[in-house]
């Protein structure tokens, strides 16, 4: 059983290898980090799970729309939003993968539409292997309302002459903010 700190290091390394960016923060620094990442990409899409950020971001002057909002409010934002912030059910250190659930009614929009996707991960939710994360998925399948996605890095393609390009239809960047355990 890999100790948490080793899992966290491996996760960060593997995430970088697939083009994602890890941020290790203590809880008090969380808001500043998130705001810094999305400031230039407003408005931001939040899910019910990350909705608590809305009032805080408001103080930064960053407009936030929750994906569970009424269509009349949500729909106009979908074309304008530059960033999405979601939570995460579990993460795999071996591959740098995050398991994102249905986002409480958001249907995955926050993690797929905007150019920037920011994921908040509790350090204690980082597992060593992809296999463990898939077990979590299998166990919690019913509760996850049948919607889940494993995300490993930003969107990419090699369809043009096998040249690797980052950023296609999905997000161009993936920022993973790892909230370190208390006393770490």
């Amino acid at each position: 059983m890999l100790p948490l700190s080793e899992r966290t290091s491996m996760f960060a390394e593997r995430l970088r290898a697939v083009g994602g960016v890890p941020y290790l923060v203590r809880p008090p620094d969380l808001l500043d980090t998130v705001a810094g990442l999305i400031d230039a990409h407003r408005p931001v899409l939040l899910t019910p799970e990350t909705a608590w950020l809305a009032s805080e971001l408001d103080e930064w002057g960053i407009e936030a729309v929750i994906t569970s909002a009424a269509p009349a409010e949500l729909e106009p934002a979908l074309r304008r939003c530059g960033a999405g912030v979601t939570g995460c059910v579990a993460a795999a250190a071996s591959t740098g993968t995050v398991l994102v659930g249905p986002e409480g009614g958001g249907g995955g929009l926050a993690s797929s539409l905007p150019e920037r996707h920011v994921v908040l991960v509790r350090e204690s939710d980082i597992h060593a292997t992809l296999g463990e994360v898939l077990s979590v998925l299998a166990e919690r399948f019913g509760e996850l309302d049948g919607e889940a996605v494993l995300i490993t890095g930003p969107s990419r393609t090699a369809d043009i002459e096998m040249m690797s390009v980052v950023g296609v239809h999905g997000p161009l960047s993936l920022d993973v903010v790892i909230i370190l355990a208390e006393g770490a």
Binding site: R14, V18, T67, P71, L74, E75, L78, R79, S94, T95, T97, P102, G105, G106, G107, G108, L109, S111, S112, L113, L130, G131, L134, S135, L137, A138, F141, D145, G146, E147, A148, V149, L150, I151, T152, G153, P154, S155, R156, T157, A158, D159, I160, E161, M162, M163, S164, V165, V166, G167, V168, H169, G170, P171
Partner: protein, 689 residues
Amino acid sequence: MATLGARRALAFEGLDFQALRSRLRAIKETALERNDELLDRLVEVVEQGGGHVKVAATAEEASDYVARLAVERGVRLVVKSKSMVSEEVHLNAALEAVGVEVIETDLGERIIQLAGERPSHLIVPAVHKTKVEVIDLFAETMGLDDPPTEAEDLTRLVRDDLRERFLQADMGVTGANFVVAETGTVVVVENEGNVRLTTQLPPIHVAVTGREKILERPEDVAPFLELLPRSATGQLLTSYVSFITGTPSTPPLDLGRETGATVREREFHLVIVDNGRGAAASDPELRETLYCIRCGACLNVCAPYTRVGGHVYGADPYPGGIGCAWAQVTGDVEGAAHINGLCTTCSRCTEVCPVMIDIPWLNTVIRARTKDATGMRWRDRVFARADLLGDVLSPISALANPLIACRALRAPSRLLDIDPERRLPRYERETLEAWFHRRGRARVPRPERRVALFVDCFVNHNLPEVGRAAVTTLERAGAEVVLAHTSCCGRPAMSQGSLDVARGWAANNVEELGRLVAEGYDIICVEPSCLSALRDDYRRLLETTSLACDERIAFLEANVYDVTEYLVLAAREGWSRLHLEPLVEEFVVHGHCHQKALGIGAAPAELLRLIPGAVVHEVEALCCGMVGSFGYKAEYSELSQALGARLFERLNDHEGQVVACGISCRSQIEMGTERTVVHPVEVLARALF
């Protein structure tokens, strides 16, 4: 930029590939056996969850269903992610015929859609297009005077162009990599993010897939996720793996669709396509086609495919050797027959297939069925009987050899559709058998081992010197040697699709060699293609006969060796009595494809390194392109030489003696490099003390 091979090697580091792919194979076998039951369960679960399932017996039924659904719901615009099955059932054409606009959203698929072409690879459908062609295509179709020139910018162009389409679409169509019966979940892997948008934005999601994709439980998907991305693209995991059950929880979005469709409710439709798969599941010879997870790893190591591409070596929409099998399964028998000859049965694909499909065997079976249906041409009948050729031409070799070598045979060659530049090899008057009989059995005092040499048609009639060197070397190593009296191994017959003839011989050989093994003999082959017939193909060849599961087949598999492999093992195990004099010479070694497929590709070079002073170079693993009769056939000879071109270059990078096993590689390399080629045992024989 790392080559595909290097990326693959890195991705597979630390992974027990054999164990993992055996596991995947087992999961697929069980799931297919229970396919009817799992399908019933899947339908029940999806419908209970409010979704709709259409089990389509034929391609037409599948595309009709989707087209009618579109009409009923007033759908005007469909966005689509990559789905081979949707191409198989011509879904786009069916939708367009009822006035629906279909936009392919996968970048590669979008490129070929704009170009009006068909996919040429399973994973990178537009791989045949250069960047310049793509620039010109976008300029023309999007009306750009000054198109971008970098791949990033071209990609961005498509992102922006398609974003509005995603938001406006009434229906999204995807494929599925796996379907889980227990939960009614569709699992889709992708890198671009277009699948996610396709399934979440439009109110109607239609997933089209083949019934062979059904697995029982979510847990069954996990091991596939370990091998599929690594095999397909050398990635540990794709950017996105979506688990979709029913409809997303967001209410349907109304993003100001210009289409004016009155779509309000979210709907999920699962179209499960049969189109020949059910019948194939009951066909013991073709069944394993259905285990295919469409990773494309086979294509990446296929010499003919990488040379000619998927538009030539493909039965729309499925490319390559596995494509021939898919065409046969889905009823495109003509398409399958058309490309079947391009599978050389070199077996390099079997080394990388994550579900252990014997693609060359599938192609051999299809070859046999095609021959049964359309008859066998004279040329191929001749090629199937290498044994007869030898029996006829050796005794009259003094007459035959000059004739073979002279130009007089060019006209008859052309009549038979044999490349007139290709010559049959020399025939020797004294066959290996005759020599052995004349010499008598050599006495080996207190033999370490007893071996029976499998006398193949070529070493017997054309290269008895290789056979003599093999016998001498084995005897000096301490093995008592007898010759096995067997029929032709059947490889030439199998290559031409004459499986009944091959089965008869195989049955004889299993009996004769089984007897020898029971008496304590190890069986030695000099010709690697014969070895692979005995060790790799007999099990499949005999599975439809009374010898199926006969334990003698397993005994044979466990006790038959390549002569180079055997001598290396003898040295490693410490019983070899070979004393080798120094030969301070340079050698450059080419590995036979069948040796590599059997995992003994390193043996020839290792054997040569036993000689003190020998400097041994190995060239990278490449196919010489000859592959038995393939290179002789007029329609393939040029391709055969093109396939070998890279190998000839690599060999010519080195001075020294070219060393290769097998008569095909020998003739091909001699023709392509104009240098002589010898078998490793011929070198060892020179170094014998």
